[in-house]
Amino acid sequence: MERPLTQYIQANKPPMNLSEYEKVGGYKALHKALKEMKPQEVQKLVLDSNLKGRGGAGFSTGTKWSLIPMGENAPAEKYFICNADEMEPGTFKDRLLLEGNPHQLIEGIIISAYAIQANKGFIFLRWAYKKAADVILKSISEAYSAGYIGNNILGTGFNFNLYLHRSVGRYICGEETALLNALEGKRAIPRAKPPYPNISGLFGKPTTMNSVETLSFIPHIVNNGATWFKDLSITGEGGTKIYGVSGKVKNPGAWELPLGTTIREIIFEHAGGMKNGFTLKGFLPGGASTDFLTEEHLDVNMDYASLGKVGSRLGTGTMIILDDKTCPVGMVHNLEHFFAQESCGWCTPCREGLPWVEKILFSLEEGTGRMEDIDLLLFHAKHLAPGRTFCALAPGAVEPLQSSLKYFRDDYIKHIHDKRCPWR
């Protein structure tokens, strides 16, 4: 089984430096893309590969790039941004790539910037990733010295400068347009769209943004082609995926597997199944902002379409396991506390709605909940759905809420009847 993204990552060892990376074929794709391919040909290749964004939304990367103005009449200044703000609770997969193979990411960024003809780029890094920051800075400086970043890269006349920006916290910074505001030194609230960032992004210039895992694929796609990439997946959506599992399993961690691997294989083979004394009650398949699934979904393939069909999302592909000794209402309360706290406060439904949800869940946990509270929670799930709020934060926040009311309603009712949390 091929593991293009992680084959050279060794646990507890420093990542490859520039010459080590070059020895295993590193920066070969950069040579090929810049010397043998036109920018639009790189775009076409990535479009043909069917690569979809691995950061959560699952949008086609090639399509995203094709929306950038190109040619002589396009603005001279464009930006390329790598979103490395991975801040969703339960998500730790980009850390593996950032710390484990920074040159693979940097090569992917340079090729992608070439594809849209951007001359300046930023890596927007989650504040907590101190080790990643160190290895990225070192790798960027190595790439500058080797002439892979800077002016007239490989003598092709393409110029590209790359900077690292370290965030100072707030989940909302990972939202595309909020991230742009953060980079511009403003409060990181999302922007009204249109105009979309492909027309008016960072500092008002055309901007494209992709996530760490997405960009790390680019050198491999350039080297091996679109068909090779498509054939990596089990269900035809293309590529591998870094899946993660956390919670009370024997072997929590992250693994690169073919896209479309079943949930059962990920939890019971790779994560080793549940710890002794715990049984599986449910799980969030793709991070904190995805709908709960339960045991009946274990044979579902972990990909975009299959999870959509059963009412959840691939999201970031990192699962959080709910065990039988953890209270589902308490878990959802913890999630909604996070989302309420991280709401940027810009739009009213999110700013007012999420703290209300949090308070109701708190009262249920404290044994002072009422039957009407169930309807009140459902009311919020409905009114914080997509289209009701400025960005995707609140709609994401109510996904675990609404699905917990579907699968664990009896547990909610028991809290109300018993006037206490049965797990305490």
């Binding site: 991975e86 801040m87 969703e88 609770p89 339960g90 998500t91 730790f92 980009d94 850390r95 989650r126 504040w127 907590a128 990733y129 101190k130 080790k131 900077y163 370290r166 965030s167 100072v168 916290g169 707030r170 989940y171 953060a182 980079l183 511009e184 030194g185 403003k186 409060r187 990181a188 500092f203 993660g244 599992v245 956390s246 919670g247 009370k248 929590p252 961690g253 992250a254 904190a288 990192t318 959080i320 396991i321 709910l322 065990d323 953890t326 308490g330 878990m331 913890n334 999630l335 506390h337 996070f338 706290q341 991280e342 940027c344």
Partner: protein, 154 residues
């Protein structure tokens, strides 16, 4: 007054951005790096240096969870209270920290050595519960480990 060194560091950041205001976040980080936190006076000084209003600077400062607008201790303990650490029992860690340091979330020890703050996910959920002290990540925490970890911070 911003020190010469702080001014120099901020000027370095100005080279990357098209106009001064865009360096607000970096300026706040620089001040915090040198002073540990950002005072009202520092907000005004940054504003003057970047030719914007103090409110604009404070708007950015108060937005971000890791810009400290109140004085913090010599070491800042950031204990993750997000979902995986909740499932794996961060509360026991909190109880142990409280026992050991006699402070709650948001407080600083009387000797000014430690400030304890809750933090959103640290991205190390496969090693929950976790906390950061200054730049160091501490994973797979148990109440028993807390004493020896704290001893590393004089």
């Amino acid at each position: 007054m911003l020190t010469k060194e702080e001014q120099k560091d901020i000027e370095e950041e100005l080279k990357v951005v098209p106009y001064k205001k865009a360096a607000t976040t970096e300026a706040l980080k620089i001040i915090q790096k040198h002073r540990g936190w950002v005072s009202d006076e520092a907000v005004k000084d940054i504003a003057e240096f970047l030719a914007i209003t103090p409110d604009e600077v404070d708007g950015v400062a108060t937005f971000h969870s890791l810009i400290f607008r109140r004085e913090v201790g010599k070491h800042v303990i950031l204990l993750c209270d997000s979902v995986c650490c909740y499932i794996l029992g961060y509360r026991q860690i909190l109880v142990q920290l409280h026992k050991k340091l006699n402070i709650q979330f948001g407080e600083t020890t009387t000797d000014g050595k430690f400030t304890l703050l809750p933090i959103s996910c640290l991205g190390t959920c496969d090693h929950a519960p976790a906390m950061m002290i200054d730049n160091d990540l501490h994973q797979d925490l148990t109440p028993e480990k807390i004493d020896s970890i704290l001893e590393k911070y004089p």
